[in-house]
């Protein structure tokens, strides 16, 4: 009798992963803003990857005959420099295109760094609890109690101003969020039966932490990673603007803004375009992150 009825109620879906991906895309594509954000983000990635081919000029080449030339549609502009040139005659468009590389690079490095360290610490805190948990969480509270940009500034001041140090500083500032998220998720999972079941089977600690528990905590972390990607770009631009991040002549968007500060009144294009680049990139990533959150974590769904 058991043999006759055992397959009742079976879900006949073919493969797990493909199906999950399809379902994810269905939820994700419901959110139009998220799709637009994703498209924009993909375009930026393509631009960054093929920057050398797309950019009409070298980012740091100075055209001595064309200082502060306006964009082509304005009087005095030429099609040679579509978005104009800056104070030392470098093509704005080429610099912006190359700047996309830096922004993506900063985002990737900062997020990976913060993710790896933060998730490990959060996993340890949530798994072991007790004094380890208290120590880690109080340390994170201390980091969180500073205004993030100020702390990043202090850290860069200590480490010395450079793009790499700025990225390290931003990663340190961001990582408490990952620690907290991971810890909360781990604590939630720890109380579930499948963790106990794995223990009874004899699964050892490390495997339990990384193979059993961690994959089940990934949804909020992916969302946080996507959203903090944009924060990282923004913070790096802010540090660059304050002269603490990428150093000139690097075509980093924040640094470009800083160099253009004194020409705000005379040449609007040297500030507006890098500003817009930052704005749209961050906006696109945030929209995408929101869609990601809605698709991955129905509990956080905003109506």
């Amino acid at each position: 009798m058991a043999e006759l009825t055992y397959n009742q109620g079976l879900d006949t879906r073919q493969s797990g992963r493909l199906e999950l991906l399809k379902e994810f895309w269905r939820y994700f594509s419901e959110n139009r803003g998220a799709v637009i954000g994703l498209i924009f983000f993909v375009v930026i990635i393509i631009i960054a990857v093929f920057a050398d081919l797309i950019a009409p000029h070298l980012p740091n080449h100075q055209y001595r005959d064309a200082f502060l030339q306006p964009p082509f549609w304005q009087e005095g502009g030429s099609v040679k420099f579509i978005l104009g040139t800056d104070a030392v005659g470098r093509d704005m468009l080429s610099r912006l295109i190359h700047g996309a590389r830096y922004s993506l690079f900063i985002g990737c490095v900062v997020v990976s760094l913060a993710l790896i360290v933060g998730v490990s610490l959060g996993l340890i805190a949530g798994f072991f609890r007790g004094w380890i948990d208290t120590t880690i969480m109080r340390l994170m509270d201390i980091v969180l109690s500073f205004p993030s940009l100020l702390l990043a500034l202090v850290l860069v001041a200590i480490l010395g101003p450079s793009l790499v140090n700025a990225m390290i500083a931003i990663a340190i500032v961001q990582q408490p969020h990952y620690v907290r998220l991971t810890r909360a998720a781990v604590m939630g999972e720890m109380s579930k039966d499948y963790v106990t079941a794995a223990r009874v089977i004899g699964v050892r600690r490390l495997r339990l932490m990384f193979v059993t528990i961690l994959p089940n905590c990934m949804a909020p972390l992916i969302v946080q990673a996507a959203l903090s990607f944009s924060t990282a770009i923004l913070d790096a631009a802010a540090l660059g603007f304050l002269g603490m991040g990428a150093q000139p002549p690097t075509p980093e968007w924040g640094t470009m803004l800083a160099e253009a500060r004194e020409f705000i009144l005379r040449a609007w294009w040297v500030v507006t375009f890098p500003g817009c680049a930052i704005l749209f990139t961050v906006l696109a990533i945030n929209l995408m992150g929101d869609g990601l959150r809605d698709a991955l974590d129905p509990k956080l769904k905003s109506s």
Binding site: A2, L10, S15, G16, D193, Y194, A197, A198, I201, N216
Partner: protein, 324 residues
């Protein structure tokens, strides 16, 4: 039939410390307050009682998820409380557990084939092929089809998940399986399938079951011995027939009378207990059951009765039924 004792527990206790706010002293919650029993190969010991009586705590102690506060627990004569780590690991694989909720007890991100392989992966050094073969054999045994190897838990129904959970518990060839209300989360129609599967497997592998349940009709179907618990105490123990035909403890009698019987002509004599079980943090003086008991005599309010032989069973009651 000669029975081989495989697990012995004596005076097993588990207390939890409970915080009651920053200005009060910590309280002691006696979740399990002295349980003595033995498990025999091929037999089922059913543990019954209402929620909060310490059934699940007992399950956690026997499966070594938690260490007892006091008391002895030995498997095949080896004391597992005092054993060193290597022995403990070895003994751990001898005791496995099946949980109540088949939705929570499977890792949602693990394919079931992999979930079944995991016990072998972490405990033995079998090759990948050997593991896969063992898993397929076990899947066949519990009534799962081979093509379900690569599916995720969310693609299965509750009954099938419970089959997976049973299969995983059996992967390491355990001698004792703790069944923590294995069918109470399932549909009644599926319950029978799983119970029959469990009985088949018990015969095939000569397993000892510690069957925890609050459903007495299920217990009647599977149990050889029954242990009735109330507020962390064992209050009655005996063979299934002795308990079901001649319950001696007033609590057991009330429990049995609450079991629905599918017989419309049968006269219903329900004994309804009044009130809630007392708090295990602050149990009543004397017998813990005295506030709800209908058979109290003076000594019931002074002293907790010991478990003593009474007819075919053993009862912890000063005034057992049918004794006067």
């Amino acid at each position: 039939m000669k029975r081989e004792t495989i697990l012995e527990a004596s005076g097993l206790k588990r207390y939890y410390e409970v915080e009651r706010g920053s200005f009060k002293a910590k309280a002691e919650l006696k979740a399990l307050n002295g349980a003595t029993f033995t498990l025999e190969k091929g037999c089922t010991l059913a543990v019954v009682g209402e929620s909060g009586c310490g059934k699940s705590t007992l399950a956690r102690l026997v499966t070594m998820i938690e260490a007892p506060t006091a008391g002895e627990l030995s498997i095949r004569g080896v004391d597992i409380v005092a054993a060193d780590l290597a022995t403990k690991r070895k003994l751990k694989s001898k005791v496995q557990i099946v949980f109540q909720d088949p939705y929570g007890s499977l890792n949602p991100r693990q394919k079931i084939g992999h979930a079944l392989e995991e016990p072998l992966l972490v405990n033995t050094n079998m090759s990948k092929d050997e593991r896969r073969r063992a898993v397929r054999a076990m899947m066949d045994l519990v009534g799962l089809r081979p093509e379900q190897y690569d599916r995720f838990p969310h693609m299965f129904s509750g009954g099938q998940r419970q089959r997976i959970a049973v299969a995983r518990a059996l992967m390491l060839n355990p001698e004792i399986v703790v069944l923590d209300e294995p069918v109470s989360a399932l549909d009644v129609s599926i319950q029978a399938q799983i119970l029959n599967l469990l009985l088949d497997l018990q015969q095939r592998f000569n397993l000892a079951y510690l069957f925890i349940s609050h459903d007495l009709s299920v217990v009647k179907h599977v149990a050889d011995e029954i242990m009735v618990m109330y507020l962390g105490m064992v209050i009655e123990m005996g063979s299934r027939d002795a308990i079901f035909t001649h319950p001696r403890h007033p609590y057991t009698r009330a429990l049995l009378s609450a079991t629905p019987v599918a017989d419309p002509l049968r006269e219903k004599k329900r004994i309804v207990l009044h009130g809630e079980p007392p708090s295990p943090i602050d149990p009543p003086h004397g017998c813990y059951f005295n506030p709800r008991c209908t058979e109290t005599i003076d000594i019931c309010f002074k002293q907790f009765p010991d478990l003593r032989p009474c007819g075919k069973a053993r009862v912890a009651c000063h005034n057992p039924i049918g004794d006067s």
